[in-house]
């Protein structure tokens, strides 16, 4: 069966994405094992973000296939893939409170269970009393921690992180990179972590892939 490498969670084969300006990603392949954190490193314009967006189903593929746990998900719509994408600038919903943001992906859960899960996640990211605050009251580091909590809340099959720390200053970046690694390992969530920073990649990932 294609894509069923032993122990692999995600297998992407020969992904090609075109933009109007030209080829954004050409015949790119990679795999992520169960529970593994893979960093994708490369300069800006090398197609790192496009790769994540293609895997999330946000960019149409010219060619290539995407498998998860042996199942072909190439034609599965974004919202049914169970891959959560954490954006560089968080993309928190400005009209919702911190708690409502974290609980956004839990709309199928019964409310008491959802509230408990939100509280659990806010405790994990170290913002236990922040639930009722508006998004506008958060600092950059807090916003990214809320975004991480929101991404982890629905127990994604795969977490896609697009330069999640690049907008933060150096001290905070190191601390949060450690924190993300610990959290991902505790939940055994496989992850693709895009960054342009070697130190950050080495700190977070089990394995590093360089994009040309």
């Amino acid at each position: 069966m294609p894509g069923s490498e032993l122990g692999a969670a995600l297998v992407a084969r020969d992904l090609t994405v075109n933009y109007e300006e030209g080829v954004a990603l050409a015949d790119f392949s990679l795999s992520v094992a169960q529970g593994e954190i893979v960093a994708v490193l490369g300069p800006s314009g090398s197609g790192k973000s496009t790769l994540l967006r293609a895997i999330a189903g946000l960019e149409p593929l010219v060619s290539g296939r995407i498998f998860f746990a042996g199942e072909d998900v190439t034609n599965v719509p974004t919202h049914q893939r169970g891959f959560v994408l954490m954006f560089q600038d968080g993309q928190l919903f400005p009209h919702l409170s911190v708690a409502a943001n974290v609980g956004y992906g839990l709309f199928k859960w019964p409310p008491p269970k959802r509230a408990a899960r939100v509280a659990e996640l806010l405790a994990i990211v170290g913002l236990p009393d922040y639930g009722d605050r508006p998004i506008t009251a958060l600092s950059g580091g807090e916003a990214q921690r809320v975004a991480l909590a929101r991404s982890l809340a629905p127990n994604p099959r795969l977490l896609l992180l697009d330069e999640p720390l690049s907008a933060l200053d150096a001290d905070l970046r190191t601390a949060l990179a450690d924190f993300i690694r610990t959290t991902l390992k505790e939940t055994a969530t496989p992850a693709l972590y895009v960054t342009h920073d070697h130190t950050e990649a080495a700190c977070v990932a089990d394995r590093i892939i360089e994009m040309p």
């Binding site: 946000l58 919202h79 994408l85 954006f87 919903f93 009209h95 929101r150 991404s151």
Partner: protein, 544 residues
Amino acid sequence: MDGRRGWVVGIVAAIPVAFLLIFFLWPVATLIGRGFFDDAGALSASGVLSVLGSPRTWRIVGQTLGQATVGTLVSVLLGVPGAYVLYCQRFRGQRVLRALVSVPFVLPSVVVGVAFSSLLSESGWLGGLGLSESFTAVVLALVFFNYSLVVRTVGVLWARLDVRTTQAARTLGASGLRAFWTVTLPALKPAIASAAALTFLFCASAFGVVLVLGGVSYGTVETEIYYQTTQLLDLPAAAALSVLQLVIICACLLVTNRMRARNERALRLQTARPGRNPGSVVLSAITGVTIALVALPLLSLVYRSLQTADGFGLGNYLLLGQVAGKATTVSVWTATGNSLWTALWAAILALGLGTLTCYVLSRRPRSPGLRFGLRLFDSAFMLPLGVSAVTVGFGFLITLNRPPFDLRTSWVLIPLAQALVALPLVVRTLLPTWRAIDPRLQQAAATLGASPWRVLYSVDLRLLRRAFGLAAGFAFATSLGEFGATSFLARADRPTLPVVIYRLISRPGVENLGMALAASVVLAVLTGLIMLTAERLGGENAWI
């Protein structure tokens, strides 16, 4: 995935398109077609040619363009200083002044006409100037209408300009004036151009205010169409004039669309960083005088409405409950009820269709062909903004009077026509906000497991709540004051408030005038209340 969503968007688009075809293009095309057939039904351009050959036609076209050009120039020259004072400076009472200048824009045109004639007629405060039924009177009223459009459009952008760019110019040795000329003005140009183009469009298609103020001598193409159809019953002439009007408006729309595209791009480039700007005595003085002039007709309207034959009092208002003899067959209060009821349905219809339209227009298709299609769709929904409301009203009468749409005797015609007039305003209010929603927010929601419908109502519609409030206000207020199309469609026994006001003011008699003034105040207050509620819900918003 794209293919399946494409079908949904196509079906959603079909509803407003069908509405536009049946209730806009068909009536308008039929009316225009009438101009090219003689009484025997044979194709003939003689009627049209005789209109195009008549010097009267070209005098009226000249007047239309002249009034619109002068009206636009004055609006811009006064509006740019106003934008600075009301949006870039800070002072006590600023919000109140902003609200005050935005009142005229939503006032029914008949009310503005009555207010200005109460001010400029011989017995009015400014009666000594002899401006009654003059070119100047029409231009002043057009400026009164559109001043706030310029102030808002330019002001909202100006407040978002980074003051540090100007400061950089100053440290490089530029004087205040030179910095404005070389740095600020170029940045504001798209907003100024866009506001000017829209103002021109509104001025060139103004109807009620010109009908009331211009008298017989200062008509526009729009009032001439009305005159030819209702007084002379000369359909070919009216049709030929409608074609002329269409040409003028399409040219305006073309320019407006260009400007708007540039404006939207420019807005994205600016950092939203309102800073404190230095105060300016000259600009504040200009704006102070302008605001006083804006307030004058309104004060005059209220003052004159309280003047009765036996002194100062509420006599005119007490008459509103009576059926006023020959002028109307119903009381003003009954007409007010009719107006509110039809405007409510018109607003619901316009808001529903506008939402569907904006949903389609806010999509971001990848293929260039679809993107071109979207631009066409966009322009099509701006057409009712410019095409003569009179043409629409008359077109309704001659097309919707037989199967499949035999609505001749139905009051439904009025909300349909009003919704058509309000639709472009709804689209222009909702669309910029909808387009400004970062697509990555929707994508974030999708990766968290939200289906496209859930994304639509949990992200898009939630973020649009404020814009919806404002759009609803515009739709309701516009429908309430709509006069051009309604004047054709309202049945004698079921007139709307603007129609009654026009009937009252066009008849002689102190009592009729007094009632017209009082009824205008009522209509103005209703409109104001609607917009106040909408602004509460909508907050600060650029109009385009």
